[in-house]
Amino acid sequence: MELGPEDVAYIAHLARLQIDEQDVPLYARNLSEILRLVETMNAVDTDGVVPMAHPVDTAQPLRADEVTEADRREEFQRNAPAVADGLYLVPKVIE
């Protein structure tokens, strides 16, 4: 499968990435290479093989349902560009 400039623009938009127009052909080529790699792997017969969700072959450990985190709001909010009334402020978004 070959990706065109529109595909690159769409993927960049989904990932909220700003890219230079002049780099689009390069990205299209690189991403297409990755898809070709996957296509090559698709040729392998994997009937009866359980898909691997994780490279580590073990199960998810479970934690007890206990509150272990204290309130560290003040500390965390020192990282934020803008806060008010305990809220993080961001440019207005409304859908």
Binding site: D65, E66, E69, D71, R72, F76, Q77, P91
Partner: protein, 483 residues
């Protein structure tokens, strides 16, 4: 017009799981805390943190699966659902996609026609909730509260098996009742701990293929769920009948105007690019685990309902109402136990007088000022004929207002029924003598006049005479004053 169309509805219900801590962090999930005081480094999506799964959410999901006869996945996988929004700091929501923890199940609902219908459950999966955006108070800015980020949700997806808004509501109520019985969700619609989205489409009767659906969101009560779906059905039929096409989109319900409106359309269809979350390992559930959870299942609403009908002789209707939530069912059983196992009488009082008082005071049954045992004790006074059913209402009212238990109130207000027939006879005689004309009319065959005499006797005894006895004695003395 609506008759030539068939409605097809499927629901997606988000039930907030009633855990103490979040699904992937040790932050508290308590409702109503000051903004961001329950948002840890994991909930904020800070670099270098890792999610650790809360075992309780797995147990709760399995409980739900077992209660709906569903397949429990031996191995389920968390996936990242990618999208950008400020109240989702990681840029993805951890959810389950291809391998959910709970597979195909079903529940049974009662239909308007009095029969039952099986509604299929496609799946139920675990995921984390997002934070909250507040758009009102900050000029040009949005305020973000991440206390809710990471709250565990069980998303319960139904098959498109419902054919009317009423069925959709019956199904939603059923799921609500179930999650409350299982004690996995508090089911508070107003606080958002139980949220319903409806997928609605219509097709010409007899068509096999499903019509294009709209997804309705922003519904926070069962009444609005019914209204939103009915509005949407009419809208879609109108569009199709005027030659248009239904667009697949998300629509928000506006309760004030009772209409659905499209959410400002996004530039492209959602493309979430799900992939397995490398931060989490597959969840493995074995037979022993399932057996242990199964052993903790309470009696479920359907089983309880059947038992109330079979063992207590209640009607389907009464049994249905009493078992819709566990607190009411428990209250009923405790009342009946205290009232000499008089199930029908107990049911009548709980569904009548008590319900009316609870509704008027906007109280749940667990907050009733009259405990089950006290109500049962009062019913005993009806059973042993200390008071009549009518006087009992006065006693109940006083109990409701905190004036003490039934015996004390009956004693204090002198409400004991007069069952001494000599005393009743005396009153009856006096009234017959005082109303010779009416007595004559009765003897001439005017049966209806008896009601007048009963009323007079009750008035003279302040309602305390036993009504059945009053009737008997009146008849006897009117026919033959010397009897």
């Amino acid at each position: 017009m609506r008759n030539s169309w068939e409605t097809v509805i499927g629901l997606e219900i988000h039930a907030q799981l009633a855990t103490r801590s979040k699904i992937f962090s040790g932050s508290s999930t308590a409702f109503g805390a000051a903004p961001n005081t329950q948002a840890s480094a994991v909930d904020l999506g800070l670099p270098g943190v890792l999610p650790v799964l809360n075992g309780e959410v797995v147990r709760m999901a399995v409980k739900f699966g077992l209660a709906t006869g569903a397949q429990i996945a031996e191995r389920s996988v968390f996936a990242r659902k990618n999208y950008f929004y400020p109240d989702l700091p990681k840029g993805y929501q951890i959810s389950q996609y291809e391998l959910p923890v709970v597979g195909h199940g079903s529940v049974t609902i009662a239909t308007e026609e009095g029969s039952t219908r099986r509604i299929g459950l496609t799946r139920a999966h675990l995921e984390e909730d997002a934070g909250k955006s507040l758009h009102e108070d900050f000029e040009g800015l949005s305020g973000i509260d991440l206390n809710r980020a990471g709250t565990p949700l069980l998303e319960i997806v139904s098959e498109p098996d419902m054919r009317s808004a009423a069925e959709a509501v019956a199904y939603a109520r059923k799921i609500l009742s179930l999650v409350r019985y299982l004690e996995i969700c508090d089911g508070n619609l107003q606080e958002g701990s139980f949220r319903c989205d409806a997928n609605v489409s219509v097709r010409r009767r007899g068509d096999e293929e499903l019509g294009t659906r709209a997804e309705l969101k922003n519904i926070n009560s069962f009444r609005f769920l019914e209204k939103a779906i009915n509005f949407e059905i009419d809208r879609q039929i109108e569009v199709l009948e005027s030659g248009g096409e239904v667009v697949q989109e998300t629509r928000l319900y506006d309760a004030e105007r009772n209409e659905t409106r499209p959410m400002r359309s996004k530039e492209e269809a959602n493309d979430y690019r799900y992939f397995p979350d490398p931060d989490l390992l597959p969840v493995v559930i074995d037979e022993d685990y399932i057996a242990a959870v199964r052993a903790t299942l309470p009696e479920l609403p359907d089983q309880k309902r059947q038992r109330f009908v079979d063992d207590f002789g209640l009607s389907d209707y009464d049994a249905d109402l009493l078992t819709a939530d566990r607190d009411t069912a428990d209250y009923f059983e405790r009342t009946a136990r205290a009232a000499n196992a008089e199930y029908k009488l107990s049911a009548n009082w709980i569904l009548g007088e008590l319900s009316a008082h609870l509704n008027a005071g906007d109280l749940t049954i667990s907050a009733s000022p009259v405990p089950a045992e006290s109500l049962g004790a009062m019913l005993n006074r009806i059973l042993d004929r200390t008071i009549s059913g009518k006087i009992a209402k006065e006693v109940f009212e006083a109990m409701w207002n905190g004036e003490g238990d039934a015996d004390a109130i009956i004693e204090q207000r002198g409400l004991q029924q007069i069952t001494d027939s000599g005393a009743i006879e005396q009153v009856v005689d006096e009234i017959i003598v005082a109303n010779p004309q009416q007595a004559e009319q009765f003897r001439a065959g005017k049966e209806k006049i008896l009601g007048f005499f009963v009323g007079q006797v009750m008035k003279a005894t302040q309602g305390k005479a036993n009504p059945a006895q009053v009737n008997d004695i009146l008849r006897r003395r009117l026919q033959d004053p010397d009897s």
